[in-house]
């Protein structure tokens, strides 16, 4: 390990250190210590966590701009980690998501007063694991980082400890273990066939191994490895047919945790799959196989998510199915992989995926956290319970409507631009049928999104007590919706940023 290795890893180290600081601060801020009031002192933990996130954020910015130390996009630490701009892009996404979740979950967390320190510690360890995962460029590191994100998430999902929450935790634990086993099996096949665990070496090795024409991916072993790896990450990305756990876990887990999982966990799984995929898809010959595989997954995920969402009566379950469908739209970008597009750019696939993910992060966080604030105060998580929300909290009602319209894909929000970019990329690659399926799915999705918007804005309610969200919740929701509109109106700002971040192709 030399200085450069430490610099490359510094955002991750800072995030892990913050987790440990929170754990110690929790002990120091124990009840009645320093004569503090019972919750008054513990509440400081939220602020320590929130402000402490500046540490990893500044260190990541430092790497991006190269202020101090040498930033490099080559693999460091014996090839196990790559702190290129692609990694940093996703690290910013994860830090931002964590900050929003912490900011918005303060009122919600009063019910977990005794476990506040553990909550933040586990959340930050999961975030550190994700930040490591998005930059991992070696199979064992990928596996360990993935486990570091999964285990804290399991404990967080079971935090509420009622029947639903324990069931959510147990389901999450077992299915997460199953998916990791599949992934591990895939990694073992890849290692057994190529004899290397570093991605760059695997790619070099695959080039020297015989390529059988007619067999998908040129070799049965690679084919099985790819299928198992995609299946393993499929659980984390919550795409069909590996989506069964999502509604139960989102319903049973504390809602801020569900928001965290639906954005950060999903984005980091997409990131590591992109890194693996675009390193290996350098071969023109296998691009076609990738395309078919991901086109099928995208179709399944969009269709299953949207059709099942139609019949939901519970808001959390509906949002869960909505995220499955959203992951399907992102998969459309994966299907449009490495074949150079008609515009001559080979990066339009990854660019559209990252743009969609950025927009999805802002929008989905705002929607999840906004509904968390509402459901937490009304105690009613059915869709019908949202009726006439505009009379109880006009600001939240308007913000949530914009958020839902962005998830649906209405201009001028980012949802529209992202869908336009990703679908047109698919058309560029000759996947016209997939673009048609995606558009039809969007129309289906309009039914349930618009139904909720209608209920919120024009529904009737007997309960007219105003809902007053806390400043932190409002701030997180407003930032999310503002981001959704800004990214939608001036997409070139972020598209330029994303272009700089595509260092993996």
């Amino acid at each position: 390990m030399n200085a450069q290795d430490y610099w490359a890893l510094s955002p991750v180290i800072a995030m892990a250190a913050l987790a440990i600081v929170l754990l110690s601060a929790d002990a120091l801020l124990a009840e009645r210590m320093f004569g503090g009031r019972r919750f008054g002192s513990k509440r400081a933990l939220s602020w320590i966590a929130f402000i402490g996130l500046l540490g990893p954020a500044i260190l990541a910015l430092n790497l991006w701009f190269g202020w101090l130390g040498n930033s490099t996009s080559d693999p460091v630490i014996y090839g196990t980690f790559t702190a290129d701009r692609f990694t940093l892009f996703f690290q910013f996404l994860i830090i931002g998501t964590t900050a929003a979740v912490i900011l918005a979950s303060v009122p919600y967390l009063e019910q977990f007063r005794d476990s506040l320190g553990e909550f933040f510690t586990l959340l930050l360890i999961a975030a550190a694991g994700m930040m490591l995962l998005v930059g991992a460029s070696e199979l064992i590191t990928i596996y360990v980082a993935l486990e570091t994100t999964a285990l804290p998430a399991v404990a967080l999902a079971a935090l509420r400890r009622d029947g639903f929450s324990i069931e959510a935790g147990a389901k999450f634990l077992i299915l997460s273990a199953l998916s990791t086993a599949l992934l591990l099996f895939g990694l073992v096949f890849l290692y057994g066939y190529t004899g290397a665990t570093r991605i760059d070496e695997i790619v070099a090795r695959l080039a020297t191994l015989p390529f059988e024409a007619g067999v998908p991916f040129g070799s049965l072993a690679v084919m099985l490895a790819v299928l198992l790896i995609v299946a393993g990450f499929g659980f984390k990305m919550a795409i069909a047919p590996w989506h069964m756990w999502v509604p139960d876990v989102y319903q049973g887990a504390p809602t801020p945790v569900a928001a965290f999982l639906s954005v950060a966990s999903k984005a980091s799984a997409f990131a590591v799959l992109m890194r693996l995929l675009y390193s290996m898809a350098g071969f023109e010959a296998v691009a076609q196989d990738w395309q078919i595989l991901f086109a099928l997954i995208a179709t399944a995920s969009m269709t299953v998510g949207n059709l099942l969402a139609l019949s939901q009566t519970n808001m959390k379950r509906l949002l869960a199915y909505s995220t499955i469908a959203q992951a399907g739209y992102i998969m459309v970008g994966f299907a449009a992989v490495s074949i150079a597009s008609s515009s001559g750019s080979a990066t339009s696939g990854p660019q559209s995926i990252m743009y969609y993910l950025a927009g999805y992060a802002f929008t989905n966080l705002a929607v999840f956290l906004g509904f968390t604030a509402i459901i937490h105060r009304t105690g009613d998580d059915t869709i019908a319970g949202l009726g006439g929300l505009v009379k109880r909290s006009p600001v939240l009602a308007v913000l949530m409507s914009i958020g839902l319209l962005s998830l649906l894909g209405m201009p001028p929000t980012v949802g529209f631009m992202a869908k336009a970019v990703i679908f047109s990329t698919a058309v560029d690659q000759g996947l016209i049928w997939l673009a048609v399926v995606a558009v039809v799915n969007t129309v289906v999705a309009a039914y349930y999104y618009l139904r909720i918007v209608g209920l919120i804005l024009f529904g009737e309610t007997e309960d007219t007590d105003p809902i007053k969200p806390a400043p932190g919740e409002m701030a997180a929701v407003i930032v999310g919706i503002a981001g959704a509109i800004v990214l939608g109106v001036v997409p070139w700002l972020v598209l330029q940023l994303i272009d700089d971040s595509i260092t993996i192709v």
């Binding site: 014996y78 196990t80 476990s115 586990l122 064992i140 360990v144 399991v154 020297t208 191994l209």
Partner: protein
């Protein structure tokens, strides 16, 4: 099939016996409804895996497997089972048994098919020095260039490990943990903290519920 170990008749027989033990005990683990019996079967399955490590000349991993898994983990699981008590009817997740069975058999069939139809000896034919070094995990950093590709294989070691029996790997495990794999190794520390806190968090909640 390419057998990396000394594939004499006795080694082959031992391999099949150990595999049979592993698979048979694993089947008992998943079908047995009595948790204590399942734990004993799990320990036997660990013994079978340890035997396979020994047959593959990975004595160190075999000993660790015996000490840690058969010795410690099994006992821990047995204690946990005793503390939790009656869980005999806690099988609520197995509602769709048919689907699970079909999926598992399909996966098994695919894996066996691919394993038999893949020429695993292909990697023997790689002559590129870098590639051979990667295959065997033996590197020697040549020169001071920062180019990551400037690595050359230690050829005698390569022949050692590819021809006939594998060399004893225990002396390479320590250095590997603090060089090539230092990042995942250190990350495990973070993972263990998370596991510890998470377990305490869930269990503490249970105790409070019981007391209330």
């Amino acid at each position: 099939m390419n057998a990396a170990f000394d594939s004499g008749p006795i080694a082959t027989l031992a391999f099949y016996l150990a595999s049979a033990l592993t698979i048979a005990s694993a089947l008992i683990v998943v079908t047995q409804r009595d948790l204590v019996r399942a734990v004993v079967a799990l320990a036997m399955s660990f013994v079978g895996v340890a035997a396979i490590y020994f047959i593959l000349n990975a004595e160190f991993i075999g000993v660790v497997q015996l000490l840690v898994y058969v010795g410690a983990i099994s006992i821990l699981i047995a204690f946990a089972v005793m503390f939790i008590g009656d869980l005999a009817n806690a099988g609520t997740l197995s509602q769709s048994r048919l689907i699970s069975a079909v999926a598992a058999i399909l996966l098994l069939a695919t894996v066996i098919f691919v394993a038999y139809n893949t020429d695993w000896t292909d990697i023997k034919d790689v002559t590129d020095a870098d590639a051979v070094a990667g295959l065997t995990g033996r590197y020697e950093v040549a020169g001071t260039s920062d180019d990551k590709n400037v690595i050359s294989a230690v050829n005698s070691d390569v022949e050692d490990s590819r021809g006939g029996a594998l060399v004893d790997g225990s002396s390479h495990i320590g250095p590997a943990l603090i060089s090539d794999f230092v990042l995942p190794f250190e990350t495990l520390g973070l993972l263990l903290i998370a596991a510890l806190i998470g377990a305490l968090l869930v269990i503490r909640g249970r105790q409070k519920d019981d007391a209330a």
